[in-house]
Symmetry: C2
Subunit: 225 residues, 2 copies
DNA sequence: CATTGATATATCGAACTGATATATCGTGCA
DNA sequence: TGCACGATATATCAGTTCGATATATCAATG
């Protein structure tokens, strides 16, 4: 789930961990306060999978791109010092700037368009996908919205069973009822989005999906006929 | 978080794991689909902490309450067979029925009234507490509602910063705006609950908090003056 | 020039999820 | 009768995420 978020942000520009966290929190509002204990391992994971790479875009001068091998410094620390030495002036501080790779772009599209894993925190998962919906082909976008709508409709049904069921106390009852209202509100919102999407597809004015600028990936996705 | 839910349910009656899951899902709607990988470890945890105990309430006849020591059966399996043998008719099947202990009641009150851990999934945490709000002293209940209200108000402020900030694309923007609306809706709901609580406290008719029937715990909580 | 606070990366243990394994019971159906 | 199947039930595993904490640097402040 977090992988998708990271890849989505990196698609717009190179970023370092701390900044990724800031954007997720301040701009998107998803992942209210994503923990570094999730973020950094996720970045390592993605790096290991060659979906992202350290950009090392450095400060002003692009000095030797590969670590100059300082010799005596012991293992782990050496890496840190090397990075610090590589970009000392101009940029804020020693930081690992990541960029997305071609494989990363592929992975992103794959994750974004994949069926939601049913069980997990639906709202988060959907929210994240919607936030990056501009990267989806128009029909995939519509499918996402409709899948979510169906999900909420199902929830509404179970909610009705709940209120009809064993008598809940005042507070639990209020909670369930408020939940139902919120779901209805969500569905109405989705209906507006779906309507808007349909219109956009009926009258396609100029470019409506990102200037993705010919990356081989879109061909795989079946934008087609 | 899950501990609170378990203790809350067990407060009403003895239950086994599978049934706890069912209630959380079907009746409360919290924890959409709580995993057994969380539930059973949580029960073990609580049992280790002496907050719950296996009730072994058995079927029709309360045969020997302690395992009769079948001898040859090897370790783990022995426990299962013993339980199975202990309550073969009447009840559904071999199951571990848990009951809450005095320490468990104490822990429940402590968890329920504790300050929310700020970071975590607020909605879930609050929802859970509200579902068991009847176990709280009137002022603690009011405090819970007001704490939540303040939380949402803060969120509303950051949301406004978000929309004012860097221009989001159509979808991300719609997401944020809908989130804001939902938060406003939540606050209005809380206001209604708070109002209702205030009235209840002003005109206290008969018993308004559970027939808790003199357990020593309430004394600790400072219900007082 | 020491202290504090913001920026930044990293790691640990505990908790939760999704998947899977195992066993038993009840029911339908051949 | 028997036996396949689905529901009930407990348990465990690997992979993620979270909250806390450690460490280091830089900027501002007094």
């Amino acid at each position: 789930m977090l992988d998708l978020a990271i890849l989505g942000l990196l698609q717009e520009q190179e970023l370092h961990g701390y900044e990724i966290r800031r954007r997720l929190r301040d701009e998107l509002g998803l992942f209210a306060n994503i923990s570094f204990g999730s973020l950094y391992p996720a970045l390592s994971r993605l790096e290991a999978a060659h979906a992202v790479a350290v950009a090392e875009s450095g400060g002003t001068a692009t000095t030797a791109p590969s670590m100059p091998f300082t010799g005596s410094l012991s293992g782990e620390r050496a890496g840190l010092r090397a990075r610090r030495a590589a970009a000392p002036r101009g940029t804020k501080r020693s930081r690992k700037v990541y960029r997305i790779t071609d494989q990363g772009l592929q992975l992103f599209d794959q994750l974004l368009d994949a069926d939601e894993p049913a069980g997990t925190d639906d709202a988060r998962s959907f929210g994240l996908r919607l936030a990056f919906a501009r990267h989806l082909a128009p029909q995939a976008r519509l499918a996402l919205l409709e899948r979510r709508r169906a999900q909420l409709t199902r929830r509404l049904a179970t909610d009705q069973v709940r209120v009809a069921g064993p008598t809940l106390d005042v507070y639990a009852r209020s909670l369930v009822e408020h939940g139902t209202e919120a779901t209805e509100h969500d569905i109405a919102w989705l209906d507006r989005l779906i309507e808007s999407e349909r219109q956009k597809q009926a009258a396609p004015r100029s470019e409506n999906h990102e200037p993705h600028a010919g990356d081989a990936v879109t061909a795989m996705k079946g934008i087609n006929p």
